[in-house]
Symmetry: C2
Subunit: 320 residues, 2 copies
């Protein structure tokens, strides 16, 4: 199987090849790995912006605005939108971001939705791989949009260089935002729909929380900024551009050590995730692949054997 | 190390022993495994109710009400509340459910919050293990409360026999609920705060969605019910009791085959998760444990080597 043409097409930024490879990644096709291996040396050039927040805070509209603004700077923009979906249907229900259709004919914009999948801890490694493809394909900025509540979403956001956390007035945020634990991952905290009632109060509450964090004596390399924006009216979007640029400069120029540490962590996560996925796949094949092992599983179901012992037996047999 | 007394204490339902073991599980202490092995034959008796919904829909208040109602039936109730929290602080920020304090002196109620943790696909197996402990300790009903958006939460809910999905009027649900994909996991769909404006409309929208599903010709063993409730005023709570009971009877009396299939899936998930976690731990020790492997990781960081090849090398060395 000669994959070289596909690699060349992706490095040249050809949409059809990019779309095909991403579909293969999402389908967990085994043949993608050779291509990803060959693309990998060409990655590491894109700047990755993560964007997260509860459902309904207007993430897609803001992404839409950010695309337009990056395009005005003649930057090529890739968007990866991760939709948590049903473990049963297994597909991104909203499909390809209907609301972003007006970028559909722009050759400098590539948008793709991915579904999260899997069982207990089984987030697919699709998102990091898709980001690598877009990176190798020459996109200057890659926006990674996730629903920000669960751990999966926090993990995906760890892929980003700059993370934007969105909220809206009157979501009863305050304590809820802390509860969801996403405040700590924000490089920039945005109150979207800032033209709506209650915006002032939400801003004050968040400002208070940030102050409290500062006063707690906690050391931080970067204190998240707070901005009121409106994707609808355009309020605050120039400031958002500046804030994004300012965090990018901070990492690239002032603290390349932080950037390097982040990259190392991402790479390590990726390797460990690959190992883990393969170990799981091998264990599953064993459990379902022979009557002996299937009956051991049934013993655990009947509570005559415990799951810890069965896991040990698999590790011993399968992994020596 | 003689753990027998602890096992006896837990089987006898002693709170101090339960709390200590759960703390050890949450700290990922290696010594818990022997205890869990010995408790496992005593599990499988509790009925597990999952409860999920976006932040702010009133999950904790409803749990509070459900506790009181189960207690009136003289059922012992355990509560596991899973809070997605920061990957940095690593603790359940709201700690032990301040709002539920008025059950604190009831010896028939045990409440514990757990934080989600981990990286890429690294949901800790804490929740299933904690549920096992409460099950072995003789709790008749175990409520598993999670924030329902990400895959982690869907996975945790897979632990449950009956899953309640909560929403509130005016959350802009409709499409958002579908998007989050949690509708399909609901055995019972609840509109909480049904005394608030907009409840009628939300109910109608959800009813419409359920009808649409039905008309789509999809085969389902159980069609989720829809109820308007208010944890504050008590509206609909008697109906909720009946609906819960009715789903429990359906599984236990009419369709024990579905119950058995669910149990098998849960057990398999648990075993695969244990294998996966251990494989990851071994890979991580290798990567950080010798200069040779650490330098291979640095080569990947520098993009002179690809992560897929490194993962293969680890699998070969570590797992034969």
């Amino acid at each position: 199987m000669n994959r070289a043409p596909q690699v060349e097409d992706i490095l040249a930024g050809r949409f059809q090849a990019i779309a095909r490879l991403i579909r293969d990644i999402d389908d967990q096709s085994p043949r993608v790995q050779e291509t990803l291996k060959r693309l990998y040396p060409h990655t590491g050039r894109a700047y990755l912006v993560g964007l997260t927040g509860s459902p309904g805070v207007g993430k897609s509209s803001l992404v839409d605005q950010l695309i337009s603004r990056f395009r005005r700077q003649e930057l090529k923009v890739g968007v990866v939108a991760v939709d948590p979906t049903s473990p049963f249907s297994g597909g991104a229900l909203l499909g390809d971001r209907i609301r972003m259709q007006h970028h559909a004919t722009d050759p400098g914009v590539f948008i793709r939705s991915l579904a999260t999948r899997g069982a207990f801890g089984g987030l697919t490694p699709s998102a990091p791989a898709v980001v690598q493809v877009l990176d190798a394909a020459g996109f200057d900025r890659i926006l990674i949009e996730t629903v920000g509540v669960g751990q999966d979403e926090v993990d995906i956001v760890r892929l980003a260089h700059t993370t934007l956390v969105l909220t809206v007035p009157g979501l009863g945020d305050g304590i809820q935002a802390i509860k969801a634990g996403i405040l700590e991952i924000a490089d920039l905290l945005l109150v979207n729909k800032a033209d709506q009632p209650g915006a002032e109060r939400t801003l004050k509450e968040l400002q208070g929380m940030l102050e409290l964090n500062r006063l707690s004596g906690q050391e931080k390399d970067w204190w998240p900024g707070l901005l009121a924006v409106s994707a609808r009216t355009g309020q605050g979007l120039n400031e958002l551009d500046q804030a994004l640029e300012s965090h990018r400069r901070f990492l690239e120029e002032e603290r390349p050590d932080l950037l390097a540490a982040r990259t190392r962590l991402q790479v390590k996560d990726l390797v460990l995730n690959l190992v883990q996925d393969r170990a799981k796949a091998r264990a599953e094949r064993r459990l379902e692949g022979s009557p002996d092992w299937t009956s051991r599983l049934e013993e655990v179901v009947a509570r005559r054997k415990d799951p810890y012992s069965l896991a040990e037996e698999i590790l011993k047999e399968e992994f020596g």
